[in-house]
Amino acid sequence: MFGRGRSENAQLDFETLYCANSDAIFRFCYRLCGNRTEAEDLTQEVFVAALEGLHRFERRSSTRTWLYRIAVYRHRAHRERHETRNVSLQATPEAASLGESDLHRIVLQEALWKLAEPLREAFVLVKCEGLTCAEAANVLHIPTGTLKFRVHCAVQCLRKSLQEVPHAL
């Protein structure tokens, strides 16, 4: 008779937001931190923060961009809390059973995790998540020129690692 209550609407909004973005944000977190459990925790933190801030979100950027930004900040906070990096690679199959593309992926993944944080963030947003440079710069709150520079530096470093693997590049 009176329609849905405000709190119920907020709940529905949030659930829609979660369903539409949880996989993407999890994937992004996983790519950033390289650890499935940590990525799940991080994803949960991102959505809790989103839930808390949903009413303040002014929709000046896309929802996905906003979530990416929260994820970046949360990930940085995680890093500060746990100074040592806790990288657990996915169970690496025996070398013999590896296809060439798997090998390239693992090499790139390892090299990516060795990159400095700002370079990795930039690279993951642009190359893995497929954001445009302008969108990624918006997420990281840096000028597009700086973002491009960071991606270029990351590409240079990763290229060196991949060049050591036959047929990777």
Partner: protein, 433 residues
């Protein structure tokens, strides 16, 4: 364009927007350079691998874990009984307050929006102007020319803070500006290079320009009282006195220094450094020279010659010269020439007759250009060249290198100063080699 510059572009090529002009330049370079073609292929392969990295799905339903938080956050706040009685009055008061706040916020918002709009418009105009300038200058640049105008607009939108170094007051903010590179760049006009290729002198010769100038920027930011300093600053030569150094903290991998003219807030030199492998490398160096005033003509042809303003030293360091205020009274002849060829290059045909002294002069220029275009295709780039320009007097000539789609030519434009003291084109011919 150099390979370094091309490869920087290629690293983010598929994720960026590019002007048709930029794409053409990159394609032209790729057609000639096997190293850059290989680099492009490598980046593309890396992109395809990167897109499949950790392509995992979330297995756990995190919503379940978040349910308690969700419940707390979305539950309506409990209201005490007493509050309920006052609720209608509080509601009315809140509504009135809301109306008042909204009205004042709307005023502030609309003023802010207008200011932003105004700034945006100015920046677009500014960026466009200089992009054209560099397109023109790229044609006759002696060394390598690195085009950086693509990022000016975006950089200018990000506020940078010029602060004093920690040992001199720490975070004292001298000025909030746009990116100083952007803010100071546009006065780039003339450069004199020494025999070793280093910058000796730079002059801005643009008294009649309508886009924002360094003087405007300094004045607007309170760095300079333009009216009071116009005379004096024009005569202040760089004396080699030590300038105050200030740093702009930016990002973890970049830092910028600005040197100010001693005892003033006038920037003389801006240097950006990037951290690479733990070592700071200079990536950009902007030198701002304060030029002497020339009594009548815009420069002394015996000692100055036109040149591109941004160049690379071949060691990966880009250099740019930006200039300070001069009090030149007249627009130099080469600028009129730029209007003529710019009219053909940027398809602004109405500009060409305006730059010619008579309709016959325009017909001559148009016929000459038509003949070249028929033979070599559309004009792609141009640039003025040669020392003998804007000499004192009422007549002068100026050579321009022109690059067409299928060939090159050098045009000699002749100019005459009209009654208002403005250089106008009187004729055109093929330059003698």
């Amino acid at each position: 364009m150099r390979c370094n510059s091309i490869q920087r572009k290629l690293s983010t090529w598929s994720n960026s927007d590019h002007s048709a002009w930029e794409a053409r330049r990159v394609e032209a370079h790729l057609a000639e350079c096997g190293v850059c073609r290989a680099y492009r292929d490598e980046v593309q392969r890396m992109d395809s691998i990167a897109a499949t990295l950790a392509d995992e799905k979330l297995h756990r339903d995190l919503l379940v874990g978040m349910a308690p938080v969700q419940k707390t956050l979305t539950a309506p706040p409990a209201r005490p009984f007493a509050a309920r009685q006052w609720a209608p009055l509080v509601g009315i008061a809140a509504m009135l307050l809301g109306v008042w706040l909204n009205a004042s916020r709307r005023d502030a918002n609309s003023a802010a929006a207008a200011a932003v709009k105004h700034m945006d418009a100015a920046l677009v105009e500014w960026a466009g102007y200089h992009e054209r300038l560099f397109q023109a200058e790229g044609a006759h640049q002696e060394g390598e020319l690195t085009l950086i105008s693509e990022t000016w607009y975006e950089r200018a939108r990000n506020s940078w803070r010029i602060t004093s170094p920690p040992d001199q007051g720490g975070d004292r903010i001298i000025r909030d500006t746009g990116d100083p590179h952007t803010a100071l760049q546009p006065t780039l006009e003339w450069v004199q290079k020494g025999p070793d290729g280093r910058l000796l002198h730079a002059i801005e010769v643009a008294p009649q320009r309508t886009d924002p100038t360094l003087a405007d920027f300094l004045a607007k930011n309170g760095l300079l009282d333009a009216a009071a300093n116009a005379q004096d600053l024009g005569r202040t030569a760089l004396s080699g006195t030590p300038a105050e150094e200030i740093s702009i903290p930016t990002y973890d991998t970049q830092r910028t220094y600005v040197w100010l003219m001693e005892g003033t807030d006038v920037p003389l030199r801006i240097e950006r450094q990037n951290l690479q492998n733990g070592v700071w490398h200079t990536s950009w160096l902007f030198t701002i020279a304060v030029a002497e005033r020339w009594p009548d003509s815009v420069f002394d042809p015996a000692t100055l010659r036109p040149s591109g303003g941004i160049w690379s030293d071949g060691q990966g360091t880009g250099h740019a010269a930006v200039a300070a205020m001069t009090l030149a009274k007249r627009q130099p002849a080469w600028k009129t020439g730029n209007v003529v060829f710019g009219g053909y290059l940027w398809r602004i045909p109405s500009d060409v007759p305006k730059a010619c002294l008579t309709s016959d002069a325009f017909k001559a220029v148009d016929a000459w250009m038509s003949q070249k275009v028929a033979r070599m295709g559309p004009l792609e780039e141009f640039g003025s060249v040669g020392p003998n320009i804007s000499a004192p007097g009422t007549d002068t000539t100026q050579a321009f290198h022109l690059t067409f789609e299928h060939g090159r030519a050098t045009a000699m434009l002749s100019f005459h100063k009209d009654a208002d003291g403005i250089w106008k084109v009187t004729g055109i011919s093929d330059a003698k080699s």
